[in-house]
């Protein structure tokens, strides 16, 4: 599974929605369940599963799935 697929799976699981509803352009708040608690869980799962960590200022810039993928790829 590549990074994009992993991120989509994490977001779909945390937000309790089908994977096919999540696209590269999906962003915070696009689904009612993507709230601040979900955002926290998404980041802690990404950090645990993909072995990356982010500084607060880096996380602030991440709004969409593609932002997440780009930020993770930059750290790999």
């Amino acid at each position: 599974m590549n990074i994009k697929e992993s991120v989509i799976e994490i977001v779909a699981n945390v937000c309790e929605i089908e994977k096919n509803q999540v696209t590269e352009n999906s962003a915070i708040g696009d689904f009612p369940s993507w709230d601040s608690m979900a955002q926290l869980t998404i980041f802690s799962t990404i950090e645990d599963q993909l072995g990356v960590s982010f500084e607060p200022e880096e996380m602030m810039e991440i709004e969409s799935i593609s932002d997440m993928v780009n930020a993770i790829e930059a750290k790999k």
Binding site: A27, I28, G29, P32, S33, W34, D35, S36, M37, A38, Q39, L40, E55, P56, E57, M59, M60, E61, E63
Partner: protein
Amino acid sequence: MMDSIEEQLAAHALSKPDKVALICGEVEVTYAQLWSRVFFTAQELQTKYNVCKNDRVILSASGCIEFIYVYFGVHIAGGIAVPIDPDTHLARFEFIRQSTNPKCVIGLLHKAGVEGVPFEDVATSEGTSFDYVDLDLDDIADIMFTTGTTGDPKGVTLSHRNLSAAAKHINAFIGNTADDVELLALPVSHSFGLGRIRCVLSAGGTLVVLGSFANVKKFFKEMKEHNVTGFGMVPASWAFIKKFSGKYIAKFANQLKYVEIGSSFMPVEEKQLLMELLPNTRLNMHYGLTEASRSAFMEFHAEKDNLTTVGKASPNVDIALFDAEGKKVALGEEGEVCVKGAHVCSGYWNEPVERFQKDFFDGYFRTGDCATMDEKGYIYLKSRIKEMINVGGKKVSPMEVEDVLNSIPGIAESACIGIPDPAGMMGEVVKAFIVCSDENLTDKDITTALSPKLEVYKLPVQIERIESIPKTSNGKIQRLKLKT
């Protein structure tokens, strides 16, 4: 003489029709436009949904601008607004629906799978005439469902007088004026967020509707773009903002006039950090509950040497501490915090007045919190009589979680308590102690079984297996013993 919030809105629409009341994305709404939308919405509710005086209307309290039109529209149509969390699960929704027997449900409740009438259909921008219902200040305006000690939702009834009195004393302490531009990111299904709408609009200020803290970049973008002067948050929101932006908020130190902070545990170090980052901002932390909104206040900078207090009684509010027999305790002694003022709720929905009267000592409403008070009136909370768990500002009844746990095959019995959040984000989180009859039951099995029945914040973060649950001789669970 006290005017309802709606009367104050109508007065602003007349005195400053072109002043911007609401901003949401690209949309700007003046006071004149706001009042006409509220007016037409009330007409729609009366004619299409037959909402009459004292009829209940359940609102999925999402952060959309149409929610604001409909909320005030219900009031001036003579109805009673029942704002509930859009995350409400089906069992809780059914309880509230049966209890309130609403004329209609408006908005989407995605977790319950309920599609109410879309807000856009009710919040119409066109209308002609309207039968203005003469409101009595003591009519019920809102029913706010909180978590009762037994776990069943409890409907707190708030009159127009209660809402107006609360807005008045909150604005008096914080210093809100018509010049304020407030960013609203709090959930409006709770007393705090909904109260911020009433406070800002009754002061004639401008409200920037954001709906959530989830997108911190957007939060700061809106703050900059609209020259925001204040906002409300709970300590868990601050933990979230800090995690996702570090000390970025300091860039707004010369712009932010005030922050209102909700009542849940906040470490002294976090208060000091906020003071350091926002040295010129009034940092107002309130103490209160849905039944008696913001009964006490303290301001961090003014109390820099006394940051463990929850403050003193708010303007026009009286607080006294009573013992279990209903006698006022001596200065410095521990007692139950009891509150008197026009903001104290008028009762509980579907509950006899005689029962509600038992919640008072000598005209003071019993909060269920234990505290001491010093000679200057500063209150220091000690414990909670009602054993509620406060997860990021949201109350969780241990009994509600225990009931669901006990229904899982393989769990003989359980007890839940609040523990400090190990992640340092939510203040408290739920810890479950379980007695297993099936040793193969895993934590994952338990969480999977709980998830459809409980909101995410109510799910236990820790699960510990024990031999037996400590109980009194009457069989009452001794949760305090599990805390040690």
